[in-house]
Structure formats: structure tokens, C-alpha cells
């Protein structure tokens, strides 16, 4: 990476990996089982942090979209694209772990309850965001369309959050947890957030380099084309 040195990046990912697998051990070997749902409730300790990080990634797309529309700087567009990609990844994780939990707790893989429906819509909205990006050739046009789309797509995030609180929903809005469970949940937030943030930064770096390579190719083409143009005009 250009912004950070290699040892810092290595240390970051090492800490994230140790905490990730360490908290997984805590979940399975230290945290007590929930009395009504049993062992399947343990999915919750990774499901919720992944869901919250999905919201953070979507919020980053939203902030980056505003940044781009105000400044027209490609830096913001790359940040939005990287965040959207990680938002799709995290939303996929949220939906899959949610389905496993639903099957264990409710006996069905999926039900069209308000929260589940809005969550599925969120995943779909950001998948479409990536498709829209890949379907537009002009970089400026792609950035503007994506920024406007990113602003609108974010409207689904408060709907996901509020749906289980304001509407009748099978999905729990608040869960009463024992102190050990609360501690485990708080501990699980750390590695998931570290990994999600690290992925976003790494994806952002990949997009920055892609842009730099494209610019370099463009300038090379221009320098190769320029002498030819001179010859043509001279003739």
C-alpha cells in the first residue's frame, strides 16, 4: 500500500486474525448457551457485528457520494466503489448467517418479514450499484450516476434498522443478554470491524492503483499518438 508501510499492514491483519479466531473460541467454549434457542443463538455474536458493519459500509458509500458530488474528485468515487463492494460482501454474510439462525430458531430458512425483506432489498440495491458501475464506460458519467444512486440506496439502511422496532416482525428488535453474552458480543465487534475496515482500505487501494495504471496508459497513448499527428499534419 502507498499510504501505510508493509510491517504496519502485516501487524494490523495479524491482530485482526488473532482476535477473529480468538473471539470465535470465546463464543464456542466460554459463552453460555441461550436457554430457549440453544446453541444456534451463538450465530448472533458474528451476525450482528457483520450487519452493523454492513450499515457502516453503506454509510461510507453515502458519505463518499456526497464528497464526490461536492468536489468531483475521483478519490471519493474510488472510496464509494470500494465501500459498496464490501457492503455487498457483508450483506451476503448477514443474510446467510441470518438464514441459518432462522432455520434453527423458526424452522424456516426465509420469511418475508419487514426486516428480512428490507435486508434483502439492501443487498440487492448494492449489487445493482456494482452492476450500474460496470455498465457505464465513461469514468465521469459513471462516477456521477453512482454517486446519485449511492445517495438513494442508503435510504434503505434506516428502514432495515427501524423495521423490527416499528413494525410487527418475527425478527427480534432487542435481545436480553446475560453479562457474559454482552461481553462476548462486544468482543466480537472488534475483529469484525477490523477486518471490514481492512478490506475496505485494501479494496480502495486496488481501485486507486487501477486508476493510476489507466492514467499512465492514457498518457503513454497520447505521447505515442502525438508524433504521428505531427507527421500527418506536416504531410
Amino acid at each position: 500500500m502507498t499510504l501505510l508501510r508493509k510491517p504496519v499492514i502485516l501487524a494490523y491483519w495479524l491482530v485482526a486474525a488473532v482476535l477473529f479466531f480468538g473471539t470465535m473460541g470465546i463464543v464456542f467454549f466460554w459463552t453460555p448457551e441461550e436457554s430457549t434457542m440453544g446453541v444456534i443463538q451463538k450465530i448472533f455474536y458474528f451476525h450482528l457485528p457483520v450487519a452493523i458493519n454492513t450499515f457502516l459500509a453503506c454509510a461510507t458509500v453515502f458519505a463518499a457520494a456526497i464528497g464526490y458530488l461536492l468536489t468531483r474528485d475521483a478519490w471519493w468515487d474510488d472510496l464509494a466503489a470500494a465501500s459498496a463492494k464490501i457492503a455487498v460482501l457483508l450483506a451476503t454474510g448477514t443474510l446467510l448467517t441470518g438464514m441459518l439462525w432462522a432455520h434453527g430458531a423458526w424452522g424456516v430458512w426465509w420469511t418475508w418479514s419487514p426486516r428480512l425483506t428490507f435486508s434483502f432489498m439492501l443487498w440487492l440495491l448494492y449489487v445493482v450499484y456494482l452492476l450500474v458501475r460496470s455498465s457505464i464506460d465513461s469514468p465521469q458519467r459513471r462516477a456521477v450516476v453512482s454517486a446519485v444512486y449511492g445517495l438513494v440506496a442508503f435510504l434503505d439502511v434506516p428502514l432495515v434498522y427501524l423495521s423490527a422496532r416499528l413494525l410487527p416482525d418475527i425478527h427480534p428488535g432487542n435481545i436480553a443478554l446475560a453479562p457474559e453474552m454482552k461481553l462476548t458480543l462486544a468482543a466480537c465487534f472488534v475483529p469484525i470491524t477490523l477486518v471490514a475496515f481492512g478490506l475496505m482500505l485494501t479494496q480502495f487501494e486496488v481501485y486507486r492503483r487501477n486508476r493510476a495504471i489507466a492514467r499512465q496508459h492514457e498518457s503513454e497513448e497520447q505521447t505515442h499518438a502525438f508524433p504521428l499527428k505531427l507527421k500527418v499534419s506536416a504531410a
Partner: protein, 39 residues
């Protein structure tokens, strides 16, 4: 699928999704670096 299997599958899924993506991104970055050096 029993509850223990479902829970383990859930954790494996998240692990593969997150760390698999991290690995894919590192490989992409390394490829970009190599191509830049060759250039």
C-alpha cells in the same frame, strides 16, 4: 441440519467470505505491483 452443524457452518461461512476476500485482494495488489515493476 442440526443446530451445532448450522452454527459451525455459519462461522465457517463468515470466515471464508471475509478471509477469502482478503486473500483475493492481496493477490490482486501483488499482481498490480508486479505489473508496475515489469512496466
Amino acid at each position: 441440519m442440526n443446530a451445532i452443524t448450522a452454527t459451525i457452518v455459519g462461522y465457517c461461512l463468515i470466515t471464508v467470505l471475509l478471509w477469502g476476500t482478503a486473500l483475493q485482494l492481496f493477490v490482486t495488489l501483488k499482481g498490480q505491483k508486479r505489473r508496475a515493476e515489469e512496466h
